[in-house]
């Protein structure tokens, strides 16, 4: 921190002692990843501020502020509970259907908000990308941060509701929730990182993502129990269905906050499946970062 301004000679001397650095992002060789991680770590304060900005700016001028971020999922819950649960009769087969629904919606909400938010994050911050050098991973990561913030709010409601309905039990089952959270976070971040870079080159990506997120929502056992879906699938498809990370994350949540006191059939080896998914996810995250690093060199001119 320069409180007393150093003399020009001091400055020159200090500069002479500094090593040369590559301008811009550290090289895209394999060693680049660690230096890029360091680069991001150096900017962690900025990451916090950007996350803060996203959260604050979203409901800045509304009277109810961030309560709106609660009202949306609650309304979603109400609609599904009434229409799917009562009218279509799903609640007849699933005890505590509201908690079941909300556990799934909360888990899936985290995934979809991270993917959706980070996909458009580079373009939304194009002013900064073009004018200042920052490790560009910061922007998708700040979208991840703001998604986690929203998730936390929903999560608190989920806990309260689960406690009220009596489905919350302090047992080892809660670890499934943690595992589910981790798997969803890793995959969503990897996918978000990749798509945010692709979206710069091809703007169609963000619209495609919206459609796919809707598809995946119905493709995950949120509104129905996974056993219903598996009945209608050949074995190989059921394997893919049950082992995909979104399904695992959602089931992990249901297992933690709903299943122990309700009538659901437990997915065998859920812990092992989550662990494998997590390991694969970390490898994917690493790969996504490499691709991102490759693509980001031309961001400034493509925007």
């Amino acid at each position: 921190m320069a409180i007393a301004a150093p003399s020009p000679d001091d400055r020159a001397e200090r500069l002479a002692g500094l090593p040369w650095e590559d301008a811009g992002s550290p090289g895209s060789s394999l060693g680049g990843s660690t230096s890029q991680l360091k680069d991001i770590w150096r900017h962690r304060e900025l990451l916090g501020l950007l996350t803060n900005r996203e959260v604050k700016a979203r409901y800045k001028d509304s009277a109810l502020g961030f309560f709106w971020s609660l009202i949306k999922p609650l309304m979603q819950l109400l609609i599904y509970a009434v229409v799917v649960g009562q009218f279509l009769g799903a609640a007849r087969n699933i005890e505590n259907f509201a908690i079941y629904l909300f556990a799934g919606l909360t888990a899936y909400g985290l995934f979809s908000e991270i993917v959706g938010g980070s996909t458009s994050s580079i373009i939304a911050n194009s002013g900064l990308v073009k004018k200042v050098y920052l490790p560009r991973e910061i922007f998708p990561l700040s979208a991840v941060g703001s998604a986690i913030f929203n998730f936390c709010i929903q999560f608190v409601i989920l806990l309260v509701a689960a406690a009220l309905f009596g489905t919350l039990q302090f047992s080892g089952n809660l670890l499934f929730g943690l595992g589910g959270f981790f798997v969803l976070l890793v995959y969503a971040t990897a996918i978000g990182l990749l798509l945010s870079a692709l979206n710069v080159y091809l703007r169609d990506v963000q619209y495609l993502v919206e459609v796919l997120l809707m598809l995946f929502m119905w493709g995950s056992p949120i509104l129905y129990h996974w056993t219903f879906a598996v009945q209608h699938m050949p074995g190989w498809l059921a394997d893919i269905y049950l082992n995909n990370p979104i399904t695992l994350g959602v089931i992990g949540f249901q297992e933690a906050f709903w299943a122990s006191t309700s009538n659901g059939e437990t997915l065998p080896d859920l812990g092992l499946r989550l662990a494998i998914a997590a390991v694969v996810g970390i490898v994917l995250l690493f790969g996504a970062q490499r691709v991102f690093a490759k693509l980001q060199g031309n961001f400034a001119q493509e925007l």
């Binding site: 500094l18 301008a23 811009g24 304060e45 900025l46 990308v129 073009k130 200042v132 169609d204 400034a300």
Partner: protein
């Protein structure tokens, strides 16, 4: 000059831009086979090697599209060169745009922290400088208001206040000095001078040649992605004016101006008495502007007018045959009028001559803006459009 060490090193840097004309998936699929046709690439930078010493102030100049902003962005790491390497050391701050990263919905205070963080200050450092920043910006009353309610001037002041409190070794500046009112610009320039005194390195992209000769100790002239000249600022600015003049002449040659109506200005040349056209017009020379007119239908009682503009387009001199009291003969096939300007004292720079043909009541029949030009030579002791030899002495001094 104190000791200096290299702080930026560019080695054979080239940058190619590929311009694709389509952005969406559909367009790309449809045009996949013919994609070469829909691509256009050009070299924004070609084989640039450059070394910047600490403590120096370098001006990057060149016509629009010459690659100076690209070069600045390459130094800043915002653009990755296609080939070659850019190395630098020390702390960098880039003022490519004041207030980049300001968020409209956040308050001034929040934006100060955000922007400072973007420019590389930690939260602690920002806390330390916060009072200074607010003081410098002069908008204390509005610091907790959302910046979208700021006037553009307030916005600039706050952004600049943040930018100068970052403690950079290398400062990149792109045209930002051209905004704001005069007082604000002076503040910017003062701050840059104090940065110089502190041994910081500054790289400026600017169109104001005056600023280059005034602030920089080295200038790099770029044209079509290549370094045309690298060295003394006043030599670079002269060269730059020649480049611009060349381009202008090319444009004129490509699109000869249609002169409508019966009045014509056939030719104009401007030179010092006793010197050829194109030689510099030194202070004390007599300047001759010689203009030839014609009118296909014949014109009695007409006026010939001459005006001299500085390179920035400011009028520095103007006169007419009517002011001088010269009555001109009937104009038909051709008539040449010589204006002699005695003992001109133009300051350093390029000047353009505009000539007009008017009726006696001042209706313009033909105008030829910038039809001729001349240079006034470099003068070490002063800047500006007026030449005068300065002396100074101490009259009274109290210790």
């Amino acid at each position: 000059m104190s000791t200096s060490v290299p702080i930026v090193r560019l080695d054979d840097v080239s940058k190619r831009f590929v311009i694709r004309k389509e952005k969406s998936l559909k367009e790309r699929l449809v045009n996949a086979g013919r994609s070469a046709k829909h691509k256009e690439d050009f070299w924004a930078l070609r084989n640039i090697s450059l070394e910047v010493d600490s403590g120096s102030t370098i001006g990057l100049i060149g016509p629009n599209g010459s690659g100076k902003s690209t070069l600045l962005k390459a130094i800043g790491g915002i653009i990755e060169p296609t080939s070659g390497s850019v190395k630098r050391r020390g702390r960098l701050a880039a003022l490519l745009e004041l207030g980049a990263g300001f968020h409209q919905d956040l308050t001034g205070r929040e934006n100060v922290y955000l922007n400072a963080s973007i420019l590389g200050l930690s939260r602690k450092q920002t806390d330390y400088y916060f009072e200074d920043i607010v003081e410098f910006s002069g908008i204390r009353d509005f610091i907790d208001t959302q910046v979208k309610f700021y006037s553009s001037g307030m916005y600039m002041r706050l952004a600049f206040a943040v930018a100068i409190h970052v403690d950079p070794d290398l400062l990149l500046v792109d045209e930002v000095l051209a905004v704001g009112d005069e007082a604000f610009q002076r503040k910017c320039l003062d701050k840059i001078r104090s940065f110089q005194a502190e041994g910081r390195t500054i790289v400026i992209v600017t169109h104001s040649l005056g600023q280059v000769t005034e602030l920089c100790d080295r200038a790099v002239l770029l044209n079509r992605g290549e370094v045309l000249f690298d060295g003394e600022p006043h030599v670079a600015t002269t060269e730059f004016r020649d480049v611009l003049e060349e381009r202008r002449q090319e444009e004129i040659a490509e699109h000869p101006e249609e002169q409508e109506g019966a009045g014509r200005i056939i030719s104009v040349n401007a030179h010092a008495v006793g010197k050829a056209v194109g030689e510099p017009v030194a202070p004390g020379d007599d300047l001759i502007v010689s203009a030839t007119f014609s009118h296909s239908e014949g014109l009695d009682d007409w006026i010939a007018a001459v005006q001299i503009d500085s390179a920035l387009g400011q009028v520095v001199y103007g006169t007419t045959s009517k002011r001088i009291g010269l009555s001109l003969p009937r104009l038909r096939s051709s008539c040449t009028v010589d204006f002699v300007l005695e003992k001109v004292t133009f300051g350093e720079g390029k000047y353009f001559v505009n000539v007009s043909l008017m009726t006696h009541d001042g209706v313009h029949l033909a105008d030829r803006p910038q039809i001729a030009s001349f240079d006034a030579p470099h003068f070490q002791l002063a800047v500006g459009t007026v030449h005068a030899v300065p002396t100074a002495s101490v009259v009274d001094s109290v210790a």
